[in-house]
């Protein structure tokens, strides 16, 4: 959120605005990224994350704001600076891989070097090097059309890093792969990025991908930044209802802060139908007594009990419980609200059974609505 944060910033985006017709795809966002770090722009489709990436790449012109990489001004509306994409020294991996079908893998990867008039011998060496790094050395002579999705993905990455760019951009590179391959490629991409040490910006709508790969995550919605933070912080301390709902699964109940007991701690009052309870919770940034807030509790932070043991009393009725192998997915009706709970897989609950819920106060968080 704060563009002037401490530490050297390799990429700096300030006040970026980009509209398509009357619609603001990106609405005044600023962020930075330290050298060598892996930053993810996370959000649903249409949130402006890809547009932001395109602006950094120079494939879109800005409507307002500026973009700097390594201290050099790449785009600035105020100063009328626009560096064409080919002068930016940025590598990019596209969603469709964009491997040129009329060239072999080696030719695809050699292309950026040939454009830079690198000597033939050096090209061969560097192409072989990145193909080895991406595990494609045996496929160098294949045509791009003869590769599988995962192999095309690697080839696209090889082509993007072969000229040692100053910045690496990923536009949802894994979204066209099947689940198993996607999980393997997450680790693989991250390993290669670490090995090469390139500062990277990654765009995805997949929160698991963002959590696994990133040093820092920016959650976006409707062209604006919702929260910036590391994977743990984003998951454990979502800034608002939107982030809490988007990252992982959460039980979200609207309420009001009735008491602040200690810094960052307090009580929230929840009214649901006839029920009204006061629950101890952690308080999100800026929440004070009397403010309306949303209680966010992850399903794994709720325990289902057969006996009443703790106050306050949350007594409900099991709607259903589904065995998922490594856990039991339960729904418990309390007043008008249906709690999502993850229970131990060896537990069994019958629909209609009366149960009690215990919330883990450490992981019960009130956030801004």
């Amino acid at each position: 959120m704060d563009p002037g944060r401490v530490g050297p910033q390799h990429l700096q985006v300030r006040g970026l605005i980009k509209s398509f017709g009357p619609e603001r795809a990106v609405d005044d966002i600023s962020f930075g990224i330290a050298p060598g770090k892996f930053l993810t722009l996370l959000g649903p489709s249409g949130c402006g994350k890809t547009t932001t990436l395109m602006c950094i790449a120079g494939l879109h012109r800005l409507d307002a704001g500026e973009i700097r990489v390594g201290g050099a001004l790449y785009s600035s509306v105020a100063d009328s600076v626009f560096l064409p994409p080919e002068k930016r020294d940025i590598g990019m991996v596209f969603q469709s891989y964009a491997i040129w079908p009329h060239m072999t893998v080696a030719e695809n990867v050699a292309y950026p070097l040939a454009i830079r008039r690198v000597a033939r011998a050096e090209i061969d060496g560097r192409v072989a090097e990145v193909l080895r790094l991406t595990g494609l050395l045996e496929l160098a002579g294949r045509l791009a059309t003869q590769l599988s999705g995962g192999q095309q993905q690697r080839a696209a990455l090889a082509r993007a890093i072969v000229f040692r760019p100053t910045l690496l951009l990923f536009d949802e590179p894994l979204s066209n792969l099947d689940l198993k391959l996607r999980e393997r490629m997450r680790i693989e991409l991250k390993r290669i990025q670490r090995e090469v040490g390139i500062t990277s910006v990654y765009v995805t709508h997949d929160q698991a991908e963002a959590l696994v790969m990133s040093d820092e995550i920016i959650v976006m919605s409707q062209g604006r930044i919702q929260q910036v933070g590391g994977p743990h912080a984003i998951y454990a301390r979502p800034a608002n209802r939107y982030v809490s709902n988007f990252i992982g699964v959460a039980n979200l109940l609207p309420g009001q802060i009735v008491r602040v007991t200690a810094p960052g701690r307090g009580e929230i009052e929840i009214r649901q139908g006839a029920e009204c309870v006061r629950l101890p919770c952690r308080l999100g940034d800026g929440l004070i007594e009397g403010m309306s807030a949303v209680l966010s509790v992850r399903p794994e932070s709720v325990t289902v009990l057969r006996e009443h043991s703790t106050e306050p009393r949350l007594e409900g009725e099991v709607v259903h419980s589904i065995f998922l192998g490594n856990c039991l997915d339960c729904r418990v009706r309390w007043a008008d609200f249906e709690w999502k709970v993850l229970a131990h897989p060896r537990e069994r609950f019958r629909p209609g059974e009366r149960v009690f819920l215990r919330l883990d106060a450490q992981h019960t968080l009130a956030v801004r609505p």
Partner: protein
């Protein structure tokens, strides 16, 4: 890590210059230039045509003044009035005939188990590539009352007195036009039928509807926009057709708007301003129909068409499939085999009187039209061969270059300019060649390019480059923009990307479009006939010369030569282009 390019903060004074530099990229320069060329090429002739139609030539034929006299004269003139009615009748008749034949043949090929339909398909399309003018010459030799081969056969073999067939009238024009434009309907409908999701019909069948009911309530309504599209294209193409009415109508008192425009453009009675006025009338008629087709029908023709490769439902015709085969063979016989056979036969006789005389057969006519230079009329024909190949080669190359840049603009730079260009690319399709040619004539007649091949080139490209553009666009839509973008990010400039990535990927579309334009230009008549002068005749103008001033066998010889050249191109075209490449 490579060193980042240092741009730094632009000082206030340099700000304007840096803004100018950021606008003056390779991309913006080339695309601006292309848009200007297209805008001038398309709008200037039409604007001049409109202006000219309000210029009135005085009695002496030297001076002009402003006025509505041309329009008044056009309304009052009995011949023009009749020509207008004839044009409407011919277009309507040809449209009905072509639609009937096109839809039935398309259904047989796409949806029935008619034998050998794979092999017949290319033959159904052949008339699309040949010259309708040559078709009219062929049918004249087949079914003229006295010298027609079929009439002579009927007299000799069956003893029928007089003649059975006569194509030298408005019905003959409808017949030949309808047959030659059948592939236009066929292409629209066969594409729509093939790409329709079979589940749409299957679900109707599962609700209990029979085959006939499904065809009438589901299939036909879904194909209707394609049928109407094809019908409208046939209507406007027929209205703008010059060669067929010139051969079969004009000499026998059946004038059309095109033959009338021609008489005002060249010859002793020439009055370009009057010609422009009549072109306005013809252009207004066709533009309205094409506008309806492009804006209302064409988008709908694709709503059920997902572009996925479906395996269409095939109807088992049982024993009736042999009838379907006979029907399709009859079409190929009438549209392709008989005309070409007849032309060959006629071309081998020194004189044609409706009878095959085996001991007279000679190749002398070919020698004369292809290599013999002396008599002036024949010389025009021989000139035309060289000119046409030069025009077709240069025209197709220039038009495809333009088409490439324009398609790129429309699909890759999505600004206001792209939308304007898209509209500009449809405009020439709305006007018959003869109308565009009149516009080009009045625009450039006082410039040095008049009386050179350049004015023909301008006319050809203006009228036909949208066809090439559509070929490139269809491929460009299938090629992801990310392929270009990743080249830019790899460090390649716009031009380098175009040269090394975009063009190689679009090669099939570019080449298919090139061959299609080459074919169109090689047979082009209605633009050439307005714009040629002595020395710049084309192949089709040569055929016109021979038809007008020499005998039928010489005409037939050159016609056969043109047909052979076109057929060779068709074979090449089928090698390089997919089935769908033709649907312009």
């Amino acid at each position: 890590m490579a060193e980042a390019v240092q741009v730094g903060r632009a000082p206030a004074v340099g700000r304007w210059r840096s803004r100018a530099r950021s606008l003056l990229t390779q991309e913006s320069l080339v695309t601006l230039l292309a848009s200007l060329v297209v805008a001038v090429a398309v709008l200037l002739p039409l604007a001049t045509l409109i202006v000219s139609s309000f210029r009135v030539l005085d009695e002496a034929g030297f001076d002009t003044r402003w006025g509505l006299d041309n329009y008044r004269a056009m309304v009052d003139d009995r011949i023009i009035g009749k020509a207008f009615v004839n044009t409407l009748v011919i277009s309507t008749g040809a449209t009905l005939l072509a639609t009937l034949l096109g839809v039935s043949l398309a259904w047989i090929n796409a949806r029935s188990n008619c034998p050998a339909r794979e092999q017949l398909e290319p033959f159904n399309l052949i008339p699309f590539f040949l010259s309708p003018f040559v078709g009219a010459i062929a049918w004249h030799n087949l079914a003229a009352p006295r010298t027609g081969l079929l009439n002579a056969l009927a007299r000799d073999a069956l003893g029928v007195p007089g003649h059975v067939l006569n194509v030298d009238n408005i019905y003959g024009i409808i017949w030949v036009t309808g047959i030659f434009f059948t592939p236009l309907v066929y292409l629209f409908v066969v594409g729509s039928l093939r790409r329709m999701d079979p589940a749409l019909e299957d679900s109707a069948r599962t609700t209990g509807a029979g085959l006939l009911r499904t065809t009438l309530t589901v299939t036909l309504p879904l194909v209707a926009p394609a049928i109407l599209s094809g019908a409208i294209i046939v209507f406007v193409t027929s209205a703008g057709e010059f060669g067929v009415p010139f051969k079969l109508g004009a000499p026998y008192g059946w004038e059309t708007l095109t033959t009338q425009i021609f008489s005002k453009a060249v010859g002793d009675e020439a009055n370009h301003y009057m010609g422009a006025t009549m072109s306005m009338a013809l252009g207004a008629l066709t533009a309205v129909f094409v506008w309806i087709q492009q804006r209302v029908l064409a988008p709908r023709a694709f709503t059920t068409v997902t572009g996925k490769g479906f395996r269409p439902n095939v109807v088992d015709l049982g024993r009736w499939r042999w009838l379907a085969l006979a029907y399709n063979l009859a079409f190929v016989l009438i549209a392709v085999v008989l005309p070409i056979f007849c032309l060959v036969v006629v071309s081998l006789h020194p004189v044609w009187e409706g009878r095959i005389i085996p001991r007279d057969l000679t190749l002398w006519n070919y020698q004369k039209v292809l290599f013999f230079w002396r008599p002036d009329a024949i010389r025009s024909a021989t000139n035309g061969i060289g000119n046409s190949f030069v025009l077709a080669f240069a025209g197709a190359s220039i038009a495809m270059t333009l088409a490439l840049v324009v398609s790129y603009m429309i699909h890759r730079t999505k600004g206001f300019g792209a939308r304007v260009l898209e509209v500009l690319c449809v405009v020439p399709i709305g006007f018959p060649g003869i109308v565009i040619a009149m516009g080009v004539l009045v625009t450039y007649i006082k410039t040095p390019i008049y009386a050179t091949l350049w004015i023909l080139l301008v006319g050809y490209i203006t009228r036909f480059f949208p066809y090439g553009q559509r070929n490139v666009s269809s491929v460009m839509l299938a090629v992801s923009e990310e392929l270009d973008q990743s080249s830019r990010l790899s460090g390649a400039s716009w031009l380098t990307t175009l040269r090394r990535i975009t063009i190689p990927l679009l090669k099939p579309g570019i080449f298919a479009g090139w061959v299609l334009l080459f074919i169109i230009f090689l047979r082009e008549l209605s633009i050439s006939i307005i714009l040629y002068t002595a020395g710049t005749e084309t192949l089709s103008v040569g055929v016109y010369y021979l038809a007008n001033f020499e005998n039928e066998p010489l005409t037939a010889a050159l016609s056969v030569a043109q047909t052979v050249a076109l057929l060779v191109c068709v074979v090449v075209f089928r090698r390089v282009a997919g089935r769908e490449a033709l649907t312009a």
